[in-house]
Subunit: 148 residues, 4 copies
């Protein structure tokens, strides 16, 4: 419970949404001729890596250099419409809450060809000390960087 007190405060602030384009590769397609359902998670992961560097100006490598890492501690996905071979996925993500040592990232995956929603959901990230694997508190600097 305590963990989300900061989050509540920050939810009154505005967090931006950022956008990445992920082209569907043939190896993403499964026996149903759609993008395999677990690959949607990989598209969100790819979008976040790009956006951390390009938009938040704090790449995963910078975290690693400080001995820190973001790990996915949970996720929820709702699948709406399939993506198919030849598609480009537009992945919009944005922080929807920050906790003591965690962040909630909302995402939408949109099929570029139609502009329609393909999937949406939430990733729960926890900031960990890479050496110990334990959760560590977000620093003021990290909170500032993410509060754009």
């Amino acid at each position: 419970m305590n963990q989300w007190i900061i989050s509540t405060i920050f939810l009154t602030m505005s967090f931006s949404k950022f956008t990445s384009e992920i082209p569907v590769r043939p190896d993403d397609i499964d026996m149903n001729n759609h993008v395999h359902f677990s690959r949607y998670l990989d598209y969100v992961l790819a979008a976040r890596f790009e956006q951390m560097e390009r938009d938040y100006r704090m790449s995963m490598e910078e975290f690693t250099a400080r001995g820190l890492g973001w790990v996915v501690s949970g996720c929820t996905v709702q699948y709406k419409r399939p993506l198919v071979l030849g598609d480009v996925a537009i992945v919009k993500t944005g922080i929807v809450g920050l906790g003591t040592s965690s962040g909630k990232v909302g995402f939408e995956i949109i099929r570029k060809a139609t502009g329609k929603l393909s999937a949406d959901g939430i990733f729960d990230y926890t900031l960990v000390d890479i050496a110990t694997g334990r959760a560590v508190p977000l620093t003021e600097e990290i909170i500032q960087r993410y509060s754009i």
Copy 2:
């Protein structure tokens, strides 16, 4: 709302849990030296395929032969402890609810070496007509097969 009325009835029945063992492959390991987070979904999928045939005696191929398919319409995963190279994942799944044209499957992924929980969560499946992609109601036969 309406969709879950049947489910409520069936929740008073007992649904069994079944178990599959999925060996971790080196290609499942990511840059963090753990099983990649999206591969957990693939482990659950693999377990369900095995259990549909072995335990429910109604394989995915049988559904396909009737022009039907189960598609994942949503999922939720909580990651607890990593799986690593050399591990075997014990995947326990069981129905936790049936809707008009859907089923909720709960799962636990356990690290065989320690018996500890690695991840758990829920898959939402929808029964669809393969030709049209539309949801179709569960038949009495399907409900019977799953009510073990």
Copy 3:
């Protein structure tokens, strides 16, 4: 032996090389912090799909519509230098020979950041009738389309 007689004739013609850019995704990275060795094959596959449509003007879908498909019947890869997270792979491919019912495609994967060769090799494709799975001869039209 006989199969490569046409190929010998066509080798005196000039086949073009085409180029695709494949961004490395985090899920492509393995425990060695490099792009996983089998994903190189997927990069070549993705490049060929793009080039079939964009450059040869005969997409895989067009083949499918005629009941035909290209299957990989063999491949050879030499790995030279790793690709890492954040990289873009430049994939150059070109036909290096056509047989009665087959085509040899040479490829080079270049790390965009350095311009240096990451891997090269050959894919052997066979044209098959999708319904029977059997090899079928290249038509004159297919040969013309590929002879650019």
Copy 4:
């Protein structure tokens, strides 16, 4: 050239073949309803990891502990017959030659249900110093372990 002198000597010795069983997972299946062609490489990789520990009694972890690693420097695959959902792949591998700092591993992938050959080929492995990434010579001990 020089590299294969040791190899020539050892080829007069007998190298054993070892066998692993890899169950096909649904996420291995691609749009052609077959095991995706690049996953064959992952099956061989998985078999080698198992066999290094179980059969050669020198696991990848032991190499890592000495600061050494085996990297795939090249591979060749011939695809013969598809593997499908529900199949188990029998992967037989064996050393076919040792060089100064390298080993050639031949493999056969057999469809358990029929006993028929699905694919075969060669992996070229190079022994490297993990810290520098450079090739290092096989020690007498490593050669002994592999000469069974």
